[in-house]
Amino acid sequence: MILVGFAALALFAFTNHGGGVYKTNTGNVSFFSHTNVEDISAINHKVKTAFDASSGKIQFSVLVKDFEFAKALMQEHFNENYMESTKFPKATFNGMIENVEAIDFSTNGNYTANVMGELTIKGVTKEVSTTSTFKVNNGTVNGMTKFILNPEDYNIEIPKVVSNKISREIEITVDADYTHSH
């Protein structure tokens, strides 16, 4: 009897707690590198990302080849020389929205939350923590954040000849419109 009670409780806990999963396959991740010699930017419009509104779990999967540059040659060199995207096709993030309970997904408004987790680029995993905004608008959620990373932390080698063209502080912008999936 007690066992059945526990089972019912467990079931209840899984089915009726919080607001379910929000998803998109068309999130945007862009980066910007500024130096006195050259500004370099690229954007990826095909980012897969989802978060669980009850547990706060949030995840991203980014295909490196889908970053679009203004110059095709730059895109080729990005994949071929810097990211080795055949060997490391995806960058991923697996983390938590730390104070997810502070976001009311049923009420329109802007919420700030800290997102923390493991960012994996080129096979190197590092802890990343960033302040993010979540904008709730009639059931859809826009998530946005910016943070800085150093390419050399992720084994991305910058040869001496282009050393002054690529910043060691690359600004990453994440912007995704999530819709409720179940």
């Binding site: 998803k23 949030i58 995840q59 080849k65 095709a72 080729e76 071929e80 020389n81 282009v162 063209k165």
Partner: protein
């Protein structure tokens, strides 16, 4: 019994692992098509075309030099006292359709070509083992006619080249290209010589570092088509890519920077030391 318990453990472990580490919220297992890029560093292997094309609205400005024979010795500074050159460029109408123009000192030849990539090597959802390109080229020699007294036709100055380029990037480092080629000369110097010359080119590139490669290129001309002193062109070189530029430094037995010249007019032998140093410089401009 034991194995059944182990199996159970294994299943539990696998389920646990997929929950603990994977991106379980995402449908991340859909197969995607992965198109192969950068089979070669640039759109020439050494002398001949590679399957690479310049991107839409990009102009690849090319300067090609071939010096004299190394066998010229110190007196000729190992060939550097003489040079033949081509100046020209490739332009991307689309990512897959390129046109090009050039002018060579060899026979004062102007050339133009059209190059179209109709297959792209890919893996994943769509499997395609090779990339394939069609290249058609026309050249016009503007040398003065050697016998001005006879009736000379403009059409005698023309030659045409058609090539099918098939390439596969086997690994990140190794790419191989096969290039069946037809050269058509409107005018040849004797009845016994063919106007249509068939040959097969082989190009191999091996990466040495991410930015440098070793390239090999050979064109085999089927027998009994050319003058008896003709030899097949063999070239060995390096590509050095520095961002916007690709430098190709090579040794070859041909002086010709266009197909008709290096496939059908080469008469030097590597074994006699009749090898030339040469380079191509490619610089990409965006419009």
């Amino acid at each position: 019994m034991m194995s059944r318990i182990l199996f159970g453990f294994l299943i539990c472990f696998l389920i646990h692992a997929s929950y603990g580490q994977g991106l379980d919220l995402l449908d991340d297992d859909e197969p995607i098509t992965n198109y192969t890029t950068a089979t070669f560093k640039t759109n020439r292997v050494v002398n001949g075309h590679s399957i690479e094309t310049v991107a839409k609205r990009e102009f690849d400005f090319k300067i090609s030099h071939r010096f004299g024979f190394l066998s010229g010795g110190a007196y000729e500074l190992f060939g550097l006292d003489q040079a033949t050159m081509r100046i020209g460029g490739d332009y991307g109408i689309t990512d897959n359709l390129n046109i090009g123009l050039g002018r060579s000192t060899v026979d004062k030849t102007y050339d133009g070509f059209v190059k179209y990539k109709f297959l792209r090597q890919s893996s994943g959802a769509k499997e395609m083992p090779v990339s394939a390109v069609w290249m058609s080229h026309a050249g016009v020699s503007t040398l003065r006619f050697t016998q001005p007294e006879r009736e000379n036709l403009f059409s005698s100055r023309l030659h045409y080249v058609h090539q099918l380029l098939l390439a596969r990037k086997f690994t990140e480092g190794l790419s191989v290209q096969l290039t069946p080629t037809l050269v058509h000369k409107n005018l040849v110097s004797a009845d016994s010589l063919a106007n249509d010359i068939f040959s097969l080119g082989v190009g191999i590139r091996q990466k040495l570092t991410t930015r440098t490669t070793l390239n090999f290129e050979y064109f085999y001309v089927l027998p009994d088509q050319l003058e008896t002193n003709r030899t097949n062109v063999l070239s060995l070189g390096f590509d050095i890519e520095t961002g916007g530029h690709v430098f190709q430094l090579f040794f070859t037995n041909s002086s010709g920077p266009f197909e008709k010249a290096f496939i059908t007019d080469t008469n030097a032998k590597w074994l006699d030391g009749d090898v030339r140093f040469g380079f191509n410089i490619a610089r990409i401009f965006n419009f």
